[in-house]
Symmetry: C2
Subunit: 107 residues, 2 copies
DNA sequence: TAAATCAATAGCCAACGGGTTATGGATTCG
DNA sequence: CGAATCCATAACCCGTTGGCTATTGATTTA
C-alpha cells in the first residue's frame, strides 16, 4: 500500500533516529549541533537521520543563518494511529479523539 | 530503552512482513502455506518473516500435524500505542481506555 | 512401507543501511 | 578580508537483511 506509510514505519525503525525524534518531541525545536551533542553519533550521521525523518514527514526544518532548526511534526503520527486502528478492528471511536487532536496540533 | 520496542518497530518496518501481519489481523489464523500463496515470496522467506514477527511478540504459532497455524497477537501493539502517547505528550487519559482493551483482547 | 506434502533450517548472495572521514558552501566573527 | 563555525553532501566501508534454492524432519496419504 502506501509509499508514505513505508517511509513512516521504516523511519521509526532505527533506534538512533527514534531517539532524535523523541528528543524533538520532548524538548521542542533543536539545532543540528544540539542534537549531535547528545546523539552519540557524528554530525553527518545526524544530518542523514534528520533527512530520513523529514522525508517521512516526521520533522520540519527552519533555516536561520548558518544553522538549521528541526522540530517534530506530531500529526505525521496519525497514519500510524490509523493503521493500528485498522489492525485492531473495532474501537474506531476511541481512536478518533486522538487522531483529531494530532491533526490539530501543528497548524 | 526497550529492546522489545526495537524488535516491535523493526519488525513492522518491512512491507512484506507488515502485509503478513495485516493479513493475519484481517483474516484470522492462517497456515504458512496459505500465507505463502499470497505473499509473493517463497515459503522459506515467509517462515523467516513469521519468525521475526514471533520474536517481536506480534504473532503466535500453533502446530497441528505437519502444518503450523499463525495468528496475530493484537496486544503486542500496545507498546506502539504507548510510545505514540508519550510522543504526543498530554492526553494520556484518552489513550488509557484503548490500552486496557488491547491488553484484555487475547487472554 | 513408499511417496508426497508441509514447514523450518542451512547456505549463499546481492542490496541496503548506518556509520565513518573528507569536503564544500554558506554564514558569522575578529 | 580571513578565520572559524555550522550543516549538508560525497565517497567509502562493512554488517545486516531479505531474497533465493536445497535440504531435512515430520507427518499424512496411497
Amino acid at each position: 500500500m502506501g509509499e508514505a506509510q513505508d517511509l513512516l514505519f521504516s523511519a521509526l525503525a532505527d533506534p538512533t533516529r527514534r531517539a532524535l525524534f523523541e528528543r524533538l518531541c520532548l524538548r521542542g525545536e533543536q539545532t543540528v549541533g544540539a542534537l549531535t551533542a547528545e546523539a552519540g553519533v557524528s554530525q553527518p550521521a545526524v544530518s542523514k537521520h534528520l533527512g530520513v525523518l523529514k522525508r517521512a514527514g516526521l520533522v520540519r526544518d527552519r533555516h536561520e543563518g548558518r544553522q538549521t532548526h528541526y522540530s517534530a511534526k506530531l500529526d505525521a503520527l496519525s497514519p500510524l494511529v490509523d493503521w493500528t486502528k485498522q489492525m485492531s478492528g473495532f474501537w474506531e471511536s476511541r481512536f478518533d479523539d486522538l487522531e483529531d487532536l494530532l491533526k490539530r496540533m501543528d497548524q
